[in-house]
C-alpha cells in the first residue's frame, strides 16, 4: 500500500543484472513480447476506454464548469455572454445564496456526534460480547438502506402523531411539536437522520482498523495492568489514526455536500436548503447555469482546500495509493 512505483512490472531491457536464463532466451528468440513492436502500445489499449471515460465525465465537466461560471448561460440557449467574475460577486454578496453554508454546520455537528458514537461502539464491539454479530449487523444496516426509503421512514417518524410523537407520549413526554416545521428543529431532525444513516459506515471502518491492531499489544497492556481507558487512549486511538483522519475529512466534505435526505424530506423548505440543493435548483429549475457553476466551483475549491489541509496536518501513509 505504501509503494509508490510498481517494481513488479518488467524491468527495462538494460537491467543491470539480466538473469542468465533470460539472456539466453532473448538471444535464441529475437521476437519475444518484450521487443515486439506492439509492446509499447499494449498498455494504452487497456487504458483507452477507462481514460476516455475519465476525461469525458470528470475532466471535461470540471473544465466546462469553470468556463460556465464566468458566463450568464441559462443552460439551453445557444448564446452565452462572458460576464467576468459577476457570478462570484453575486454569490458572495447575496446573503441568501451564502446562507446555505450555515445549514452545513448542523451536519458538521452531527458528524462529530456520529464519529463519537461509532468510535464507542467499534471499541466496545471489538471485545468479546454476547450477541456481538447481531449488534454489529443492526448498527451497520442503516448505511445500506436506500436514501429515498430512509427519507420516507423519517418523514413518518417526525410527522405529527408519527413515530417520534408516539414514542414521546408513550414515555409520558408528549409534545405538540412540528419537528420539520421550523428551521432549527427541522435542521436538527435532518442532521439526526444523517447520524442514523451514516454511523454504521464509520463504525465498520473503525472496527476494521481496531482489529488490525495486533492482539499482542492488548495482551501486553493487560499484563502491565492498563485499564480499558488507558488501552483505548494509548493503543486504539493511535492504531486507527489514519482512518480517524479520513473520517474527519469525509465528515467535513460530506457536511458541505448534503443533498439526498433534506431534498427528499423537505425539498429544502423551511430553511433546510443545502449548498447542493441550491445549486441543483439554480441549474435545473431556474436555468441559471452560470451562477450554479460558480456555486459548484466554490464548493469544489473548498473541498479541495480541506483535503489539502488535512493531508498537510496528518501526513498519512495512504496518500501514495499509486
Amino acid at each position: 500500500m505504501t509503494r509508490t512505483t510498481t517494481s513488479t512490472a518488467a524491468p527495462p531491457p538494460a537491467a543491470p543484472h539480466p538473469g542468465e536464463r533470460r539472456t539466453r532466451r532473448s538471444a535464441g528468440r529475437p521476437r519475444t513480447w518484450r521487443d515486439h513492436p506492439l509492446r509499447r502500445v499494449t498498455p494504452w489499449l487497456f487504458l483507452l476506454v477507462p481514460l476516455a471515460l475519465l476525461v469525458t465525465f470528470t475532466y471535461v465537466p470540471v473544465g466546462n464548469m469553470i468556463y460556465y461560471s464566468f458566463t450568464d448561460w441559462d443552460g439551453v440557449s445557444p448564446d452565452r455572454h462572458h460576464v467576468g467574475a459577476d457570478n462570484y460577486v453575486q454569490l458572495f454578496t447575496r446573503p441568501e445564496l451564502f446562507r446555505v453554508f450555515a445549514v452545513s454546520l448542523y451536519y458538521l455537528a452531527a458528524s462529530v456526534v456520529q464519529i463519537a458514537i461509532a468510535l464507542w461502539f467499534a471499541t466496545v464491539l471489538s471485545f468479546d460480547l454476547r450477541f456481538r454479530n447481531l449488534f454489529k449487523g443492526i448498527l451497520f444496516f442503516p448505511y445500506l438502506i436506500n436514501g429515498v426509503a430512509i427519507g420516507f421512514v423519517f418523514l413518518y417518524f417526525f410527522q405529527d402523531g408519527g413515530t417520534l410523537d408516539a414514542i414521546l407520549s408513550f414515555l409520558g413526554a408528549g409534545t405538540d411539536h412540528a419537528w420539520l416545521g421550523d428551521p432549527e428543529s427541522a435542521n436538527t431532525s435532518l442532521a439526526g437522520v444523517s447520524v442514523w444513516r451514516f454511523t454504521g459506515l464509520n463504525f465498520v471502518l473503525f472496527l476494521g482498523a481496531i482489529q488490525s491492531v495486533p492482539g499482542e499489544l492488548y495482551e501486553a497492556a493487560q499484563l502491565d495492568g492498563a485499564t480499558r481507558r488507558q488501552q483505548f487512549r494509548h493503543i486504539i486511538v493511535p492504531g486507527i489514526r489514519p482512518v480517524l483522519s479520513l473520517s474527519v475529512i469525509l465528515a467535513i466534505s460530506g457536511s458541505l455536500s448534503v443533498f439526498e435526505i433534506p431534498y427528499i424530506m423537505t425539498g429544502g423548505a423551511t430553511g433546510t436548503s443545502t449548498f447542493v440543493i441550491q445549486t441543483v435548483k439554480l441549474a435545473f429549475q431556474f436555468n441559471k447555469t452560470g451562477l450554479a457553476s460558480a456555486c459548484a466551483v466554490v464548493l469544489l475549491l473548498i473541498i479541495l482546500l480541506i483535503t489539502w489541509v488535512q493531508r498537510r496536518l496528518v501526513p498519512d501513509e495512504k496518500v501514495d495509493l499509486v
Partner: protein, 286 residues
C-alpha cells in the same frame, strides 16, 4: 479476528461498565430498529386504521394485509423500476469490473511513458466530488444525446468509479508476476494473460467491487433523478420518490413501497454479511 485473548481476566462480575455497555447497545439497536419497525407495521394497516389511528405504534388489525404492497407495486410502477434498476446494475457493474481490472492491469504490469501522468489523472479525480460537477456533466451527457436514457447513469457509474480501480490495483499487486512470465513463455500475449490469468485470479476483488458497486448503484438517487426524468425510466429510488405525489398522505402505501425497496437490501445483507463489512471497509479507505 476477535480480541478474545484466552488469558484475558475480564472482570466477569457484570460490573457497571459491562452493564452500561449492554444498555448502550440495546438503546442503539432500538434507535435503529424502531423507525423501521413502525414503517413495517404501517405498511400492514388499512388506510382507515392509519387515518383514525391509535398512534404510530399501534399494531395492525390484520397481520396478513398485503393489499398496500399490491397497490404500491402496481400503482407505483415498481416492476418497471426494478427492471430499470436491474438493467442499469447489470451494465454498470460489468463495465466497472472490466474497466477497473483493465486499468489496474495496465498500470501495474507495464512500464510506459506518461504512466505517472495517467495515475495522477485517476488520483486527482478521486478528489472531485461527483455532486459538484453535475451541472457541467449534464451538458456533456446531453450533448451525446443520452439524456433521459438508461445509458446516461450506466456511463456515469462506469466512468467515475475510481474506488474500484484502487481495489483492483491493491489486489493485482499481490499476484506474482512470475505467472505472467510463465504464460508469456508459452506465447500468450498481454490480452490473453489478462483474460486467462489475471482476471480469474481477481475473483475476491471482483466480489468486493460487485457488492459495493451494486449496493451504491441500487441506492443512488441523485444520478437517476437528474438524468432520467421520464416516468417509465424510474429506478427504484426515483420511483419511490414519486410516491410523494400521488399517494400524498397515504402512509400505508408509502410505507409498503419503502419496505419493498428495503427488502432486497436486507436479504443481500443477511446472506453476504461478512463480505459486505470487508468490502466497505476496503472500499472506503482506498
Amino acid at each position: 479476528m476477535t480480541l478474545t485473548a484466552p488469558g484475558r481476566p475480564r472482570r466477569r462480575s457484570l460490573g457497571i461498565a459491562t452493564t452500561l455497555t449492554y444498555v448502550s447497545l440495546v438503546v442503539a439497536s432500538l434507535v435503529v430498529l424502531i423507525p423501521l419497525a413502525v414503517v413495517f407495521l404501517t405498511s400492514l394497516k388499512t388506510s382507515r386504521e392509519v387515518a383514525d389511528g391509535g398512534g404510530a405504534l399501534s399494531l395492525p388489525d390484520d397481520w396478513l394485509n398485503f393489499s398496500n404492497y399490491a397497490t404500491a407495486f402496481t400503482d407505483g410502477h415498481m416492476l418497471t423500476a426494478f427492471g430499470n434498476t436491474a438493467f442499469i446494475l447489470l451494465f454498470s457493474i460489468t463495465g466497472t469490473v472490466v474497466i477497473g481490472s483493465m486499468t489496474a492491469y495496465a498500470v501495474d504490469r507495464f512500464e510506459f511513458r506518461f504512466k505517472k501522468l495517467v495515475m495522477a489523472l485517476f488520483l486527482i479525480a478521486t478528489l472531485v466530488p461527483g455532486v459538484t460537477t453535475q451541472v457541467a456533466t449534464f451538458q456533456v451527457v446531453n450533448s451525446f444525446g443520452l439524456f433521459d436514457t438508461r445509458w446516461a447513469p450506466i456511463l456515469l457509474y462506469m466512468g467515475t468509479d475510481i474506488v474500484s480501480i484502487y481495489i483492483f490495483l491493491q489486489f493485482i499487486r499481490g499476484i506474482p508476476t512470475s505467472l505472467d512470465e510463465a504464460a508469456r513463455l508459452d506465447g500468450a500475449n498481454a490480452f490473453t494473460i489478462y483474460r486467462k490469468i489475471i482476471f480469474p485470479m481477481l475473483k475476491p476483488a471482483i466480489a468486493t467491487v460487485v457488492i459495493i458497486k451494486g449496493i451504491t448503484t441500487y441506492n443512488d438517487f441523485y444520478i437517476p433523478f437528474l438524468y432520467m426524468p421520464s416516468e417509465d425510466l424510474g429506478t427504484i429510488s426515483t420511483a419511490l420518490f414519486r410516491f410523494k405525489g400521488p399517494f400524498g398522505a397515504h402512509w400505508e402505501n408509502i410505507s409498503a413501497g419503502a419496505i419493498l425497496v428495503i427488502l432486497p437490501t436486507l436479504l443481500v445483507f443477511l446472506f453476504l454479511q461478512r463480505y459486505i463489512y470487508n468490502g466497505f471497509a476496503q472500499g472506503a479507505t482506498k
